[in-house]
Amino acid sequence: MESESKKLRRGSLKEVSFREMWQKYGTVGILAVLVIALAILKPASIFSATSISQILTQSSVNILLAVGEFFAILIAGIDLSVGSIAALTGMLTAKLMVGGVPPLTAIFLGILIGAALGFVNGFLVNKTGLHPFIITLGTQAIYRGITLITSGARSVFGFPISFTKGISSSIFGVPVPVIIAISVAVILTFFTKKTVAGRNIYAIGGNKDAAWYSGINVKLHTMMVFIISGICAGIAGIVLIGRVGAAEPGAATGFETYAIAAAIIGGTSFFGGKGKVFGVVIGGLIIGIINYGMTALTVPSSYQQIVMGGLIILSVTLDRFIATKK
């Protein structure tokens, strides 16, 4: 009640429109500020085609993970297993390719594996009725364990040239990982804005009981959400092994933190029901540019972690502060 009454307390027209501006353009604004800051501190680091494409390429894996994570948060849940799904999918895809399966078939199978791992998450959430936090905390460890077992804790490499070349090439100057991330984001934007299922997922995030009484099959859509998250993580895992040139058993460890951060910084409500794919992409770019910028400014990576953590807390606090401004 307390927070609700705060939320209800509204001021004059002017403040409200400021808040609306913030909600609409806040994340884009942060991104712009970061770009400008970097441009002032180290102009050479940003004003070149290669640096821009480098930032985008580096962000693409996180963006792929984040747009899937977004759906899990949208139903007021979470998916902590995305990093492990990426690692396991990457590992199995690598094994298939090294074992002689043609790259395109292996990629297709890899995506199916991602979907299957997401299915297991959704199945367990629906069957046990436990919060997705618990379930995916468990599967995070399980999937990582399977990755270690199947790989014998060793990296797998020696992929067909066509695969590594393909991932690291560019089409019309745009790196393939970026194209993949953009395509997935575009498809998911369409899904959220134009399909009944997308709308239903927002409904579940807003009010699960009312959604159920309105005929929305909550379990079916919960399943769908985790499958989407699994597919996105699977694609991220495949992009990752292509970029690195090897599948490592410890790949993408902790990446779920960045994915969650991108979703939250991108304006997704932790209470469910609110957020946009586009915002999450911007959130991913914000994280990408901070990482890139700090590297360019030769800040040690341990400090980068601190900045990242601070940013998550700051952005959500700021959002709250503005939303409850009297």
Binding site: T195, R199, A203
Partner: protein, 513 residues
Amino acid sequence: MGSLVKMKNITKKFPGVTALDNISFDIEPGEVHVLLGENGAGKSTLMKILSGVYRPTSGKITVNEKEYDYLTPKDSYENGISIIYQELSVINELSIMENIFVGKIPVKTIMGIRVIDYPTMRQKASEALLKVGLIRDMNVFVENISISEKQQLEIAKALVSNAEIIVMDEPTTSLTISETEHLFKIIKQLKSEGKGIVYISHKMKEIKEIGDRVTVLKDGTYVGTRKVDEVEIDELVTMMVGRTIHGTYHNKNISDFKNEPVILEVKNISKKDGKVKNVSFKTHKGEILGFAGLVGSGRTELMDTIFGSGPKSYGEVFLNGRKLDIKNPYNSIKYGLAMVTENRRETGFMDNFDIKQNISVISNLKKSKAGGTIGLLDDKGEVEKAQIQVKDLRVKCTSIHQNITELSGGNQQKVILGKWMGVGTEFIIFDEPTKGIDVGSKSEIYELMRRLAEDGKGVIVVSSELPELLSVCDTICVFKDGKIIDTFDIKNVTEEKIVSASTGESGKVKEVN
């Protein structure tokens, strides 16, 4: 005698709408000041300014001889103002006792450490619960109690803080006659203690029964204040709506529906937990079937069972002669069933959706396939449909893109009704359909129900308001202990008969009325 509170020249603007325009209002000790007005008139907004939820755009509030530009929730609490909000604010995840003390947990100091004072808490809670007649284990989680019990709990919450001013924003929407009587006894007691009460309700009869003064608002402006003794209900209604309404809605059905085809037939429905026991009934074309009964009699459980929203159960349901296989609400909606649920905040609307999105939930689902997973949204169709419903039901809003939580309670209810209209519904269950809806709109909704029935749709109305059942239904079933214990034809039924059937004690009738 000085007023307990004086609100002077209060104006409150929201984006695109002036909810209150220069309103003055005061509360005297020992009086019940009724606040009256159509849906969206500004009643709740005025009271939320008093409780500190909103800040007025301009105006002054004087409490305890101190003048404020606005009150914070803390100011309001410390000045002895307590409010029962229209939308129940109890927390399902807490126990009954914990709910009573949300935000005001009693503490005591033991050896310099402040600890929760559980004995005081228990004692105060049980006193308050006894007062409102909520006889329940205090440790029960609120998600397990019925909506009327939640409303009683809200009242208990307001009592426990020993407030000087108690605002009741539609406290009886979910209460039946005897519970309402109980509340009125409490109000009289509070009055005699010199407390001031603001009472908001759309049940006009209650005003005469409990009110001392009444202030009428219309579209955020002040219409007038009268002494209840010196004014007739008709005059108040005219002040409210700005025109005369001749009488209330009366059942105009004269057709002999008994020879018409059966629309819905329910055969031997039972629930595992025994809340519904072997219930059978039929509805005919052109017939509106009402369900009366006390709280906890199992009416809502029965409807949940038919609609598929409750747990698995036994029995058969036929719609237009076809046996239905219902496992969940999705199945029943696909068959053409609809249900307006009794608790709009918990099961009625999505609070992250605007009016248009809330209205289109059902139509979207209907045109999609595979459990609602395959299908595209039709933006233009959604806009059109929402506009039609908003116009038909006269929803007061700035646009169909306004978030539903920004609407007044009665207007939210209208949106919920709207989402089931024009979607090819064959059979509709209305569970407390006019909760929070003003007198003028009520008769329009009754006419809407009649039109549905005349169009050959099946209609069931569950209501705790007997005048509502009597004015809209053709047949009234009285539900008790999970069974239909009596069925009345509208031609030979009175409130007394229903009450005595539902309590099972004919001697009690006099006391209740």
